[in-house]
C-alpha cells in the first residue's frame, strides 16, 4: 500500500500521456480515438478516486508525497504531493476528462487523433499543476498546459479560432515571464525550488521584504491573468466563444485560483496581506462588471464567459478575505463553479450542435421538444444562481458571510448584488432559450432530445450538484482540516502542537523540523 500511495500521483500523470501516445499511434477508424480517450480518462478518474479513499483526513501537510531529484544543477526535484486543497482539484480534473470526451463525441469529427491526444496531454498538464510541489516542476506544467489548449482552439475554433488562440496564449504566456523571473530570483536567493522549504524561509523573513514584495506581485499577475481577475480578462470571452466545449470548460478558473491559493497566499503571507485590498476591490468590480455584461450579451458563449468572470471574482473575494471561512468557501466554490460550468458547457454545446448558432435571439420555445435538456438546464442554472440545497449556495454563502464579518459590510453587500444579478441573467437566458413562442429556427430544425452520451456526460454532474449541496461535509472535512489559517503566518514561528504530524511540524516550524 505504501508504494501505491507513493506512486499513485505519478500514475495519474502518466496514464493520460500513455493514452495520448496510443491515440497518436493507432489508426483513426470506427471512433477508435474516442474510445481510447474515454477509456484512458475513465481509468485516470478511477485512479484519482484512490486519493480521497486513502486520504488521512484531519492530518495537515502533504500526503502521497514523492520527492526524487530530477535535475542536479539547478536542483529541480520531481516533487509531487497533495493536501486537502489540491486533492479535490485532482479528482475534479479526473471526472471532467471523461465528460469532456463525451461532450466532444459529436462535435469533433475531423482529425480526431490530434484532438484526443492533445486533450489527454492537457489533462496531464493540469494534474501536474495541481500536484507539483517543486516550483520549477510547477512552472513546467503551467506552461505546458497552454500549448495543447492553444493548438486545439486554433484547430477547432468555431470561426476565428486562430485569433482567439493567439490571444489566449499571449495573454497567459507573457505574464508568466515575470513569474519565471520571480522563481529564479527565489532560487538564486535560497538555493531551492521546494515549496515547503521556501514557505519556511519566507515565513521566517530570511529574504529581503522589498524584493519579496515584487516577487509576490509577479506571481500574482501571472495567476490573476489565468483566473482571470477583472482588468485582465480580455482573453476570456474570445476563448469561450471559440474553444471546443470540452476545453472551454477547463480553460479558466481552477488553475489560476489554485495557484493564487497555493503559490500566493500560502507562499507569501505578508505580501498577500498587503495586496489583499487591491484584490478585493478588483474582485468586487469583477463580480458586478461580469454580471452586468452577462445581462446584455447576444451570444450565449459570451454570456457564460462574463458569468464565469463574475463567479471567479467571487472566489477571489473569498481568497483575499484571508480568513478560514472564506478560504474553505473559496476552495469549495472552485469545485462548484467548475462542475456547474462543465454542465452548462455540455448543455449549450448540445444545443449549438443541433441548431448551429449561439445567438440567443435565434432561439425560443425549445422546452416543448426537449424536456430532458430543459430540466437539466434549469437545475444547472439554479445551481449557478446559488439556490439552497444545490452546490453553488454553500460556497457563495461562506464567502459572502466571511466577507461581511471579517472584511467589510460594504464589499459584502456589493458582492451580494452580483448574486442577484446572476439570478437575473441566468433565468432570463432560460426564458429566452426554452420558453415563449418557438422561434423560426427551433420550429424548422428537427432535433432530438439529449442523446445517450450527452446524458452520460451531464447526469453525473447534476448528481454532484445535488450531493455537494446537501452533504458538503464529505468534501469540507478534507478542505478545512488541512490548512493552517492563512491569515496569521506567525503561527509558523510559534511552538507547534506536539500532537501534529511530523511533516506539519517541519512545514510550520523550521526550528523544530531541523532538529
Amino acid at each position: 500500500m505504501e508504494t501505491i500511495n507513493q506512486s499513485i500521483l505519478t500514475w495519474i500523470l502518466l496514464v493520460p500521456i500513455m493514452g495520448a501516445v496510443l491515440v497518436a499511434l493507432l489508426p483513426d477508424r470506427v471512433k477508435l480515438p474516442n474510445w481510447i480517450a474515454l477509456v484512458t480518462s475513465l481509468a485516470t478518474f478511477g485512479l484519482t478516486l484512490h486519493l480521497p479513499a486513502h486520504f488521512l483526513y484531519g492530518q495537515p501537510g502533504f500526503q502521497f508525497e514523492l520527492n526524487i531529484p530530477w535535475i542536479t544543477d539547478p536542483a529541480i526535484h520531481y516533487h509531487v504531493g497533495i493536501d486537502g486543497l489540491s486533492m479535490w482539484l485532482v479528482v475534479l480534473t479526473g471526472i471532467l476528462a471523461p465528460i469532456g470526451v463525451l461532450a466532444s463525441w459529436n462535435p469533433i469529427q475531423q482529425r480526431r487523433k490530434i484532438y484526443y491526444s492533445l486533450f489527454l496531454v492537457q489533462q496531464t498538464a493540469m494534474v501536474g499543476v495541481f500536484i507539483s510541489l517543486d516550483l520549477m516542476l510547477y512552472y513546467a506544467f503551467w506552461e505546458l498546459s497552454l500549448v495543447p489548449m492553444a493548438i486545439l482552439i486554433a484547430m477547432y475554433g468555431r470561426k476565428e479560432g486562430h485569433k482567439a488562440a493567439v490571444r489566449f496564449f499571449l495573454f497567459t504566456f507573457i505574464p508568466s515571464a515575470p513569474l519565471l523571473v520571480g522563481i529564479l530570483w527565489l532560487y538564486a536567493r535560497t538555493g531551492t525550488f521546494q515549496f515547503n522549504e521556501l514557505q519556511i524561509l519566507i515565513a521566517h523573513g530570511s529574504l529581503p521584504a522589498g524584493a519579496l514584495w515584487w516577487c509576490a506581485l509577479a506571481f500574482l499577475v501571472a495567476f490573476a491573468v489565468k483566473v482571470p481577475v477583472f482588468p485582465l480578462h480580455g482573453w476570456l470571452a474570445p476563448a469561450y466563444g471559440e474553444a471546443p466545449v470540452a476545453l472551454a470548460m477547463i480553460i479558466a478558473g481552477k488553475l489560476g485560483l489554485y495557484s493564487l491559493l497555493r503559490f500566493h497566499v500560502e507562499l507569501f503571507p505578508v505580501a498577500s496581506r498587503d495586496l489583499a485590498p487591491v484584490m478585493i476591490v478588483a474582485a468586487v468590480i469583477g463580480i458586478l462588471y461580469g454580471a452586468l455584461l452577462a445581462l446584455v450579451q447576444q451570444d450565449f458563449w459570451r454570456l457564460i464567459a462574463f458569468a464565469a468572470l463574475s463567479h471567479f471574482s467571487m472566489i477571489v473575494l473569498g481568497i483575499y478575505g484571508l480568513n478560514d471561512t472564506g478560504w474553505s468557501g473559496s476552495v469549495y466554490q472552485i469545485l462548484n463553479v467548475s462542475i456547474v460550468e462543465a454542465a452548462i458547457f455540455v448543455l449549450l454545446g448540445a444545443i449549438e450542435n443541433r441548431f448551429v448558432t449561439s445567438r440567443i435571439a435565434d432561439y425560443g420555445g425549445l422546452a416543448a421538444k426537449q424536456p430532458r435538456l430543459v430540466s437539466f438546464f434549469v437545475i444547472t442554472s439554479l445551481a449557478m444562481v446559488g439556490l439552497p440545497l444545490l452546490n453553488g449556495f454553500i460556497g457563495e454563502f461562506l464567502i459572502l458571510s466571511s466577507t461581511f464579518t471579517e472584511v467589510s459590510h460594504g464589499w459584502a453587500v456589493a458582492a451580494t448584488f452580483g448574486v442577484i444579478l446572476s439570478a437575473a441573467y441566468m433565468l432570463w437566458l432560460v426564458q429566452r432559450l426554452f420558453y415563449g413562442q418557438p422561434s423560426a429556427l427551433a420550429a424548422k430544425t428537427p432535433s432530438r432530445d439529449l442523446r445517450f452520451h450527452e446524458l452520460a456526460a451531464v447526469t453525473p454532474l447534476a448528481v454532484l450538484m445535488l450531493v455537494m449541496g446537501v452533504a458538503p461535509m464529505l468534501w469540507m472535512r478534507a478542505i478545512t482540516a488541512t490548512h493552517p489559517p492563512p491569515q496569521n503566518p506567525p503561527v509558523a514561528a510559534s511552538a507547534p502542537d506536539a500532537s501534529l504530524h511530523p511533516s506539519f511540524v517541519a512545514v510550520t516550524s523550521p526550528t523544530e523540523g531541523k532538529r
Binding site: Y139, E143, V147, H162, V166, A177, P178
Partner: protein
C-alpha cells in the same frame, strides 16, 4: 608536458579533412552526369567518424598540442561534438533535397566538411593566428555555400553580401589580433590573459578587445552587427542556412567565450556591461523585426538574432556558470534551429517556390508528421518546458539572475513573450484548415526520405532529450566551463583586480 602526440589533439579535424579531400578526388574523377549522391553518404560517414573521435578525446588528458596552439579539454570536446552533430544533420538534410542532377554536389559536400574543419578548429585553437585561419576556413566555405543557387538572383546577392561584410568583420578581428600582439608581444591566449592584466598600455588592450568583439559578434549575428542575416538567410539554400545558422555560430560563440572569459577576464567590468547592452538590443530588435516578417526564412533569421541575444544574456553569469549556460544554450538552439530549417527545406523545396508563411497554411492537414514536427520546433523555440529551448533559456537567465542581472532576465523573458507571438502565428497558420477551393497548395505533399527522416528524428530527439533529461549535457557543459576558467584561475582573483587598476593608473599619466 605530456605524452599525447599532437596529432591526436586535432584528430576530428584530421578525419574531416581527409574525408573532404577524398570527396574532391572522387568528384573530379567521375563522369559529369553520374550520380554523386553517395558522396554525401561518404561525407556523413566521415562526420560520424569525427564525432566518435571527438567523444574518444574525452579519454585524453587535457592539454595543448602543436607547441601550445591547439587545446583539448571538455570545452573543446563539447563544441566538437556539437558541431559534428550539426554538420551530420545538415548533410543528411542535403542528401534528400539537393537536385539529383547537379555537377556541383561533390563540391557542396566537400565544402560542408571543410567548413566543419574550420569550425572545429576555431573552438580548439588557443593561438590567435590559428584562430584567424580557422575562422577563414569556416567562413570561406560558408560564403561559397551561401551562393550555391547561382541560377536565382538572390543566391549570388546573398553570397556577395555575406562575403563583403564578412571579410570586413574578419579584418576587424585581424586588426584586433595585431593590436593585442602590439600590446603584449604574443598571440597565445593564456599568455595574453596574464599579460593583458598587467599591460602598461591599457588603451591598446581595450581597443584590441573591442576590435575582436566586433569581428566575432558579426559572426554570431548579434545586433548591431546583424544586418546581413535576413538577406543571406533568404538567399542561401535552406540546408545551408540550417548549417550556417547553427554551426559557425556555435563555433563563434565558443571563441567569444574564450575571448571574454579566458583572454580578458581582467576586463570583466568593461565587457560585461557591453555584452549586457548587446544582448538586450539583439533580442529586442530581433523579436520586434521578426513580428513583421511574412517570409519564413527572414522571420527565422530575425529570430536567430534574438536567440543570439538570449545566449549573450548567459555571459552575464559569473565564470563557469555563464560558460556552462552559454554552451548549453548553443546546443539547445542548434537542435531546434537545425530541425526547423529541415522542415522549411522540405516544405519550401530546394528552389523555394513556397517561401511565405501563408504557404504553410494547413500543413498539418497535408502532412500530419511534418506539421506536427514544425509545431513542435516552434514550441521549442518559444521555450515551452520539456523542450531544449526551455532549459536553454532557463540556464541562461538563471546565470544572469544569480549574478544579479535580474533586469536582464526580466527583459529576456518578456522578449520571449513577444517571440511567442510570431512563433505562435506560424504554428497557428500551419494548424489552420486550408481554405477549400485553393488548388495551389494541393499538389505539394512533401516527401520525407530516409536521410531527411533520420535528420528530423535526430533533431526532435535531441530537443526532447535536452528538455527532459539535460543532466548529462549540462554536466559536460559545466566541466567545460571549469576547464575554460582554469587558466584564468591560475592567477589569484585579488591580484588580478589590483593589477588591472594598477595598469589603469599607469595608463592614465601616459595620456
Amino acid at each position: 608536458m605530456n605524452q599525447v602526440p599532437s596529432i591526436l589533439r586535432i584528430l576530428p579535424e584530421v578525419i574531416l579533412t581527409i574525408t573532404g579531400v577524398i570527396i574532391m578526388l572522387i568528384e573530379a574523377s567521375i563522369p559529369p552526369h553520374a550520380s554523386r549522391r553517395y558522396l554525401g553518404w561518404l561525407a556523413a560517414i566521415g562526420t560520424v567518424c569525427a564525432l566518435y573521435a571527438s567523444i574518444w578525446q574525452f579519454s585524453l588528458p587535457e592539454g595543448t598540442g602543436f607547441f601550445g596552439t591547439v587545446e583539448t579539454s571538455a570545452f573543446t570536446i563539447f563544441f566538437h561534438i556539437l558541431i559534428c552533430a550539426i554538420v551530420l544533420v545538415a548533410l543528411l538534410l542535403s542528401l534528400d533535397t539537393l537536385p539529383e542532377v547537379s555537377h556541383h554536389q561533390g563540391e557542396f559536400y566537400a565544402l560542408i566538411v571543410f567548413g566543419a574543419v574550420g569550425m572545429c578548429l576555431l573552438t580548439g585553437a588557443v593561438e590567435l593566428l590559428l584562430v584567424f585561419i580557422a575562422l577563414e576556413i569556416s567562413s570561406i566555405s560558408t560564403y561559397i555555400l551561401a551562393g550555391f543557387r547561382k541560377q536565382t538572383g538572390r543566391g549570388p546577392e546573398a553570397a556577395l553580401k555575406y562575403f563583403l561584410l564578412g571579410s570586413f568583420a574578419t579584418a576587424f578581428l585581424l586588426y584586433g589580433i595585431a593590436l593585442i600582439f602590439g600590446a603584449t608581444g604574443t598571440t597565445q591566449i593564456y599568455q595574453i590573459a596574464h599579460l593583458a592584466a598587467t599591460a602598461t598600455n591599457h588603451s591598446f588592450v581595450l581597443a584590441a578587445m573591442a576590435m575582436m568583439l566586433v569581428g566575432i559578434l558579426f559572426k554570431v549575428s548579434a545586433a548591431p552587427f546583424h544586418v546581413w542575416t535576413p538577406d543571406v538567410y533568404e538567399g542561401a539554400p535552406s540546408p545551408v542556412v540550417a548549417l550556417m545558422s547553427t554551426g559557425p555560430k556555435a563555433a563563434a560563440f565558443a571563441f567569444l567565450l574564450r575571448i571574454v572569459y579566458e583572454m580578458f577576464p581582467s576586463l570583466h567590468s568593461v565587457w560585461a556591461p557591453l555584452l549586457w547592452v548587446i544582448a538586450v538590443v539583439s533580442m529586442t530588435l530581433g523579436n520586434l523585426a521578426a513580428l513583421r516578417q511574412q517570409n519564413v526564412k527572414r522571420m527565422l533569421a530575425y529570430s536567430s538574432i534574438a536567440h543570439a541575444g538570449y545566449l549573450l544574456a548567459a555571459f552575464a553569469g559569473i565564470g563557469a556558470i555563464g560558460i556552462a549556460a552559454a554552451s548549453f544554450y548553443a546546443a539547445a538552439y542548434a537542435a531546434m534551429n537545425v530541425g526547423i530549417f529541415a522542415v522549411v527545406t522540405l516544405v519550401s523545396g530546394y528552389n523555394e517556390d513556397r517561401p511565405m508563411i501563408d504557404d504553410y497554411r494547413g500543413l498539418i492537414y497535408r502532412s500530419p508528421v511534418l506539421g506536427s514536427v514544425l509545431i513542435f520546433f516552434l514550441i521549442a523555440l518559444t521555450g515551452i518546458p520539456f523542450t531544449g529551448g526551455f532549459f536553454g533559456k532557463f540556464y541562461a537567465f538563471t546565470a544572469a539572475t544569480q549574478s544579479g542581472a535580474v533586469i536582464l532576465a526580466l527583459i529576456g523573458l518578456l522578449n520571449s513573450g513577444v517571440a511567442a507571438g510570431y512563433y505562435l502565428r506560424f504554428a497557428v497558420v500551419s494548424a489552420q484548415r486550408p481554405e477549400s477551393g485553393s488548388d495551389e497548395i494541393a499538389p505539394s505533399r512533401p516527401q520525407v526520405g530516409i536521410a531527411v527522416g533520420a535528420a528530423l528524428a535526430f533533431a526532435v530527439l535531441a530537443t526532447l532529450w535536452l528538455g527532459i533529461y539535460p543532466n548529462e549535457v549540462l554536466r559536460v557543459a559545466q566541466s567545460s566551463g571549469h576547464t575554460l576558467q582554469a587558466p584564468a584561475m591560475q592567477m589569484p582573483a585579488a591580484p588580478t583586480a589590483t593589477a588591472a587598476t594598477a595598469a589603469g593608473d599607469s595608463a592614465a599619466p601616459a595620456q
